[in-house]
Symmetry: D2
Subunit: 349 residues, 4 copies
């Protein structure tokens, strides 16, 4: 593999975002909030309102598909060049293109000699290692190609890591009820129905968790006609049966987990998002939303239900992955910086 | 408790349906198809298209709420009297009123000296015993008050009974993904979101299964914005680990279970219902729809996914319950008669 | 244009259905019910449950895509040959393939020398004339290539034809609220939102109506997250202002129009379909469902709201088009035969 | 009617918000941004996350239902007293309770001698006059009881006022496609279907517009399973036919109207909200969102489509109504202050 420039750099890490869409725009804003990195540019495939928003926010815009530069010019959007131009200026590129496209882009990144972060829509072998800040930050230290696992895997891993560290885990069984598309989607979907996804069990989420956490896990997943958040129904057989209050305390003490109470009116993902609309722009919830009331010990097994905001949850992980890849900070230091800058751990309900 | 008339009667059992709605209209049609019973009348609370359909189909219509007789007359619908008049003519009443109303109706039934079947929306203690044909037909023999368990409990019980009988069961964990309302509903619902229901685990479905099957079971349930079918994601720890093919054979041999294949295009509940629309009026699926591809043995545990048509699945159970309560037939005989009359077990895909 | 065989034939008209999907399967069943025509075969592109249903119903099955014959054989489905084999046996082919594919198929039909009916997803110029039974049956007499207009256009045309014939029409304005996908769809959709379709006004529906009815009409259309029926909100400026009762009488006297009353509980398309599930297999509604209460005269203009079952409404029109193309019957005779065979005009609520 | 205190006061107007829910919380935040008014307190009926958010934001919280003070205390939420205590401190109360409850509350307000603003869920006769800032600010000058018209009426009135002022209006026909419930709702709804609302035409929206604008208008309305925004499909017969560009200029020059282009990717309400999530907290859109591409002149009639964010659009109107009722500012001055404080007119896409 080609050598990448930029290890242990002085000055800010120059970050390129390839794909200023659902994930890309959030990661860009998060990078901007860090003191040790800066956004050198973002790309778009077409000149829509997201492209205009990028420019308005002060990001330098590049065409993700070189042939389309003209399209942007016709739309009156200032464009700085193509993805190739952008890669020359960057120390690292965060690939936020749709699933499977990241792998196609990789050659470009290797050629340009930039480190790259891929998202969970790519297969694990696109990168040297898969990443979750809590569970395996150190494995990404100094790496050139890292994959931040998907929203569902990130959500599962955080909570399972905490349980494993504190009580040990013999077995995990989880059922994922997935929002079928993101809120902005208006062509794809499932309008009335429930879709096993996949039908042949188990789902890929279990093995995906195992790329970042050593745990015996079997998962099942479904798609339902909702856009707001995923739901995880989790069953864990712990090695040591915890007191419910101790388990709650473990969850409560991790800033990337929020405990929500039914008594506060959190009866569904609709209510969680209603609340989040007052808390952060774009109602971004970087935290796992665990229903405190759902945390139960039944016959020595742990049960809990959490909601995962699929658009936002991987954002802090991308930031931490950057720091790990440049060996800028330790896990604790990086997570603290990320948390503070994004307001994680400061929310009181 | 008052004595009920009609045990071991000669002639057809005279069945009254209190509440000609989603369940009631299906049970009425099913009773009509039996040789050993007849519908003596059905009730409605208001003179809508369902009331008119009842009359058109030849059912004698009674006012469920005595004060509303006039309403029906004004609407030009022929009415034979009130629920009280109907009860006098019946040997048994199938209470198909909305949840909790059945319990309120019970006094009326006791006073009238008629046997009564309640639906799963009522608490177990409304009746002498709860009922599932496969798992506990005999417990209803000669009883006066029986509760047919809910659609979800019926669906769970059938498949768990078969596994238990053949392989034994140590533990069951099931996640229910429930259609939020029936297709005809247009005022209630959940439009965009996912709702843990209940939030505090486990859900009532586990204990409800235990009213009809002795099994260690923990359940979790969610509501999603769909109207067609419920989905059950089931994990069973068997006493004896089956070969997958043996397990499939057990399921395949029970007429009240249908095995569906992804290869046939059954990718979601939307596709199952599309198919059912060609098979039965009202696309009624009395059978559990188990995805054959989902039936798996992972680490010695059984996983499977099934879809349950909430409007239809309890219909055959109501018919069998009637026969048990009048000690007309054995379990095998009754289920065979019910299956044959409703076309259960005759479907080839 | 090549000459087609089969004009004014003796014996039954031999009908091929190219595309046994949502429209094709309904048209096949409708053809089967006619005494003067028969289904010589149907095609499918893949061996799914619809293909199996075709065989089970006794239709001879052909591969719509010749290269895929093997796929069907692997799935154990008996296949009689390819679309080319089928066309040799037919007097006419009903093209029920997805929009735009019909035009691509046309060459095949011309080459085979068979008449062809296209659906409303094709452009008007695919055929010699566009067709609606009420408004322009005679224009299809003896034609070789006819396009049955779309579900929305058929629904609009029927009601506007009746108003025009009886009261004259100066101007029509209509807003269409379209179900975004059919019930069986589970990949496409709009999950939460409303989509102007098109955004640039007016919509194509107005000009499409004008292919079958000479009327001044401007239309606007939207897609919404529902699967059951389209809704039309119609405003007509008549030449002669009718009494409301006279207008109702005109609508009531046409069998292909159903008048529904709010008092009967028809509060939404959900309720209409609930009722239809008891009336016809697949809840097929061949009739426009006009809310009687919505029919109003306001300031000399007519307002009315109708629901259109997009899966079924063009079925009778396809049957009538066949008769017109072979000059078998007059408009009145054909519509009567079609109506009687499909149960149109016999429904009492 | 009792005399209200506080006309032409010195110092800030003391505003109470009765009902800190969907509308109330937005109005509170908007009042807070004004220099000439302040929030003296808000009420809630139950101690949920909205109540806690109110306290967190620094609003003094009162129990809307006096008997429930204890409930709040049990939930650990600081409560300042009851609605009665709050009314004593206020110059004006903005009633943001659910529809029809406002009228019930009125007596309390009269007794307390405070001016009151009601929302559009109340009948017009609850107040001395109905209110829209553009169309009839002056009618509210010095009034004690004013009703701000509903979201749909506000949206219609703004655009019609501008057309009327500039080109005259002979006739308006509008079809409203309404989101069935707000995003936070998880019990009510319409899951799959379309509901004429009302079925008997025309809808109440036309007469409601006439309470604030003298115009000949007939409206029709439907509910659809979406939560984000309403859609209005509007047809206007102008007295003087405008050039399309002139009409666009009129709309463009009003800050409370936003023109959106399809080319920017605004293909549905889902996309508009996606954009709004980056623009304002809670994605509040105080402006009518008119699709520029939809603005058309067809046969001398104007057609246009707009989307209305039902949660936010009446917020600026409530602020202006307060100023009018206290005769603080002229229409132009008040709208300018409101617009500037809320960021209306400053958005560039």
């Amino acid at each position: 593999m080609a050598k990448c420039r930029g290890n242990k750099k002085k000055g800010k890490i120059k970050v390129a975002i390839n794909g200023y869409g659902t994930i890309g725009k959030r990661v860009a804003d998060a990078v901007k909030l860090q003191k040790d990195m800066s956004v050198v540019g973002v790309t778009k495939t077409k000149p829509d309102f997201e492209a205009k928003m990028a420019v308005k926010k002060g990001y330098k815009l590049y065409a993700a598909i070189p042939e389309r530069v003209e399209l942007f010019e016709k739309a009156g959007i200032k464009i700085e060049g193509t993805i190739d131009d952008l890669l020359e200026k960057a120390d690292i590129v965060i690939d936020c293109s749709p699933g499977k496209i990241g792998a196609e882009n990789k050659e470009k990144y290797v050629k340009a000699g930039v480190k790259a972060i891929f998202q969970g829509g790519e297969k694990a072998n696109v990168a040297e290692t898969s990443f979750n800040a809590l569970s395996c930050y150190d494995k990404a230290l100094g790496k050139n190609y890292v994959r931040v696992v998907s929203c569902n895997t990130t959500g599962l891993t955080r909570v399972l890591y905490l349980i494993k560290e504190n009580f040990g885990i013999k077995k995990v069984r989880a059922t994922m009820i997935r929002r079928v598309v993101d809120p902005k989607e208006d062509k794809k979907g499932l309008v009335n129905g429930i879709m096993p996804n996949p039908i042949t069990l188990p789902s890929h989420h279990g093995p995906d968790v195992q790329t970042v956490l050593d745990v015996d896990i079997t998962t099942v997943a479904f798609k339902v006609p909702s856009t707001l958040m995923h739901i995880h129904s989790i069953n864990v057989v712990p090695e040591k049966i915890p007191e419910r209050e101790d388990l709650l305390e473990v969850l409560r003490s991790e800033p990337r987990i929020l405990l929500l109470k039914e008594n506060d009116g959190f009866t569904s993902t609709a209510k969680i998002i209603e609340w989040a609309r007052e808390v952060r722009m774009r109602y971004d919830l970087y935290e796992n939303c665990v229903w405190e009331d759902s945390v139960s010990i039944v016959d020595g097994e742990i049960y809990l239900t959490q909601a995962i905001h699929q658009e936002a949850i991987v954002v802090p992980e991308n930031i931490d992955a950057i720091r790990a890849m440049f060996e800028l900070k330790s896990r604790e230091e990086s997570m603290k910086l990320t948390n503070n800058s994004l307001g994680i751990g400061k929310i009181k309900i």
